[in-house]
Amino acid sequence: MDHKVVGKSTQRLDAVAKVTGRAQYTDDFFERDMLVGKVLRSPHAHAKVLRIDATKAKALPGVVAVITPADLPTIKFATAGHPWSLDPGHRDVEDRLILTDKARFVGDAIAAVVAEDLLTAEKALHLIEVEYEVLPHVLTAEDAMAEGAPVLHENRPGNIVSSFGVSFGDVEKDFEAADRIIEGDYETSIVQHCHIESMSAFAFVDSDGRVVVNSSTQIPHIVRRIVAQALGLSWGRVKVIKPFIGGGFGNKQDVVVEPLTAAMSLAAGGRPVRYCMTREEVFIDTRTRHGMKLHLKTAVSNEGVLQGIHMQVLSNTGAYASHGHSIAMSAGGKFRPLYNFRSIKYEPKTVYTNLPVAGAMRGYGTPQIFFALESHLDDIAREMNLDPVALRQKNLITVGHMDPLSKNVVRSFGVPQCLEKGLELIRWDEKRKAHKGQTGPRRRGLGMAAFAYASGTHPVALELAGARIVMNQDGSVTLQVGATEIGQGSDTVFGQITAETLGLPADMVHVVTTQDTDITPFDSGAYASRQTFVTGIAVRKAALEVREKVLAVAARRSGLSPAEMDIRDRQIVETSLGRVICSLADVAMDSYYDRILAAPITSDTSANVRINAMSYGATFVEVEVDLETGRVEVLELWNIHDSGTIINPKLAEGQVHGGVSMSLGAALLEQMLFDPVTGKPLNPNLLDYKLPTILDTPTINAAFVETFDAAGTFGSKSLGECPVISPAPAVRNAVLDATGVAFHKIPLYPQVVFEKFREVGLIPDRQAERSVQHV
């Protein structure tokens, strides 16, 4: 299709604001008489709070308020950023209090101080006396499920948050009839989002007596609801404002600091209070990615046809449910529409432990599942002496595939082309040959992995998006959406969709980026790679409505019917002749100032999107492994996507860079570590938590196979989370290719790699050899 704006790398709308420092983030706003909030955290992994004495803290000059659980409503609330469900059986797990009288992890929030400055607040924390009854704790999912394990939440006596599985076909029958049954265990570590901007909010009570919360959030409308629920307020009494955001990656698809910040302001008589977490607090008391243990059992024919798969997943969700119940379930849906299994049995268990809370993080459980599945497929290929790419190619679904459980239909499927492209781009055959017969301490290898993902959450959850367009006097338009720009570039894409529909250049669409729940249309926010797909549909709908109104005014002027006209490059033209009738600005002026017919052209609409589109792709990678040090270096990487039509290639490439870097971090370096005895975090800072730096990041190559998906606006599908899924297993498979050693757990941290190499005899134990010689 011939597009003017869609498919072009138009400049991101916020580019200049961001690079010149004009973009204002939550911490850039100041209110008069602003106070500071700080939190007292539990030093114990599991302990009952018996007594809190805040007398001394309250007496410290500069302290305005000290808040303890006793000062707050005892309403348990759910923090997960999902649309509210009218069906009580479908709601998120309500297991959290703003401050807790029972600590469930080291760092759980016990009390809070509101003071005139940060130092006073910190000093006051030391003056709060807390008496704990220390309880036994559990750190692993296995321990938490063991007989007699300490119980974290009374209403979940076995510590299992959720174990709802799904299946289709008869997997047992397929195992019975199978030529081969191959099993494998895989494990991923707990990692974190590491968004640049901290979790931060400030709140005050405005002149109407309403609670105003400014927050760095992906989900302003949901924050409004949950703040109201947690504090027992009527929802309309809360207003949430979201300014520019410095990254979220799912951590801010959760309500973390806002209810407490609001409570702090209420405790201070409505004065503005800022609560901005330190990086250490972000590590300890926001959300993490679930560490998962997966057992895969696959029935496969001698010809390499995948028949049935049984996937058991143990997911450690930490001290509170957050998104835990939903993540294992959701990820179990994403991997299905890729390989043509005739039977699948998916059995997840999500378990409470006394660790920081796991929640939503880019990919929402899917990176863990695909790490296991794609590693498993390479293990199968190796065991059966099949080519790993051919094994995948042989087992792909085709267009028209309908998932038997979700009933989602695959309308576009570019995986075969992604695989072809990957093989060609990385020069697979040529390098394979060159790698043959390597010796010496540095070995190279090739690996790949494919993935599937969805666009939004349909049919699991509501997919509602709002859009509002007002045409200005000059023919430009102002677009408001309820969706949240968090750095991914969604505002720019919405602007492009609007511009394309209305025959405008990109710079004549003004997108309001600040969200204010009083003003902006309703939308559940930035998550599930839903914005371009779901909100895009609402934006397109609003733009089409404006177009219709424009042509109605033009029809009045020209006497033609609207069907005979079009808007091209800010002009109304008679389609068949290409003749200019008038400018768009003329129509806009009529709409504002015609003495009889004036009616400004606007649209205020929403779309309830009840369809999904599967996105796909693959990563191809070449690594070099230093056998002696255990260091794995990525030499070349291609991250290839079928995300339908790419609306903005530059922004799409940006998504790829960010996602790949995140996946490589998880593959090679990142993990949150805890003292196995006390449960205390060992590395809650960016020195000891090894987030890759730019020097650790290889050149990331993005490539796209542009299919057209009828369900998406201009044929587009999701992309936001997709790049984070396949790099980690591709790297793992490349290390397998280079060394013959199959790793089953990420990250492939140098020491771990070294230990494994030594275990399998790939590198000599020099000291042991010598001691033998000396004997």
Binding site: D117, L118, L119, E122, H126, T278, E280, G440, P441, E628, T629, L669, L673, D675, L682, N683, L686, L687, D688, K690, P692, T693, I694, L695, D696, Y749, P750, Q751, F754, E755, R766, Q767, R770
Partner: protein, 295 residues
């Protein structure tokens, strides 16, 4: 926000020494990249700081008349690795300097601060140790010059007298002249990280034999150490793969690695041997030697 009760910012070394003499309890702060981190979360609460950052006289890198290279204690790492003198005479120190932190840290962190912080992982320490560097320390009314080995008292502890400041690092001519060197910082990340192990190797080669070899290790023991046994072994020997392997093996002798959650003793010891071999092999090459069929 930091809990600082007073801040002195003298303009001259003399003034700094006077202030420090009057109140030896002050915490000296140079670039601040270690001190300020320690001050977070209530550490060093209520400290009085003596800032040296206006003492530009201590930033100078100069070649003294006797060939000694003098590096001012307040020279930031960025200046060190960009210095022509350093690149010409002791490129290994430039290598160590550029391996430190990231650009922002290197712009403010100073070599003197790095040493006085006493961290065993200090990238400059193992290299200076291998360079036979001396430290020039001054109080208001005294001066002493001590070798690196006398400076380190234990993990995070250095031998500084009350009121004493490190003013310069002196690298004598014999420390660097005609030497090829290589510093390997092994860390999980390639930037903004602390070393799991640091190996600095320097050698002088004649007729493909070791005339002299010096190896400094960081994070191999509670303090930076020299590998004297390996060095003595090398003396006069021909450069061969076997010699270098034996040197690497002997480099383990002074190591007192311990296990922590960051790395196990076994892994650190393995790294010492592997990286000592690589560092020596590269140093040999840079010194004009040839280590046949090196890996």
């Amino acid at each position: 926000m930091f809990d600082i009760c007073e801040l002195h910012e003298p303009e001259t070394l003399l003034e700094a020494k006077r202030i420090f003499n009057a109140d030896p309890g002050l915490k000296v702060i140079a670039g601040g990249t270690d001190v300020l981190i320690r001050m977070q979360h209530g550490g060093l609460a209520g400290a009085g700081l003596l800032s040296l950052r206006n003492l530009h006289e201590l930033e100078e890198i100069q070649l003294l008349g006797d060939g000694t290279l003098s590096v001012g204690a307040m020279a930031p790492f960025a200046q060190i690795f960009q210095s022509e003198l350093i690149q010409k005479l002791v490129p290994i120190l430039g290598e160590a300097a550029v391996s430190m932190g990231g650009p922002q840290v290197r712009n403010v962190a100073t070599i003197g601060g790095n040493l006085c912080n006493g961290a065993v992982s200090a990238d400059s320490a193992s290299t200076l140790f291998a360079l036979d560097a001396l430290l020039k320390l001054q109080t208001l009314d005294s001066e002493r010059i001590i070798p690196m080995k006398d400076f380190y008292a234990g993990p995070g502890k250095v031998n500084l007298l009350p009121g004493e400041l490190l003013v310069a690092i002196l690298i004598p001519r014999e420390g660097y002249e005609g030497m090829g060197g290589h510093y390997i910082k092994f860390a999980p990340r390639k930037a903004m990280d602390i070393a799991t192990l640091g190996v600095a190797a320097l050698c002088r080669i004649k007729d493909n034999c070791f005339q002299e070899l010096r190896i400094g290790l960081g994070v191999a023991a509670p303090v930076p150490v020299r590998c004297f046994e390996a060095e003595a072994y090398a003396q006069g020997r021909e450069v061969t793969l076997e010699t270098v392997q034996e040197i690497a093996r002997l480099a383990l002798k002074p190591a007192k690695a311990r296990s922590s959650w960051r790395a196990s003793k076994e892994y650190r010891e393995h790294l010492i041997e592997v990286l000592a071999q690589r560092a020596v092999a590269e140093a040999v090459k840079r010194a004009g030697g040839c280590c046949a069929d090196e890996k």
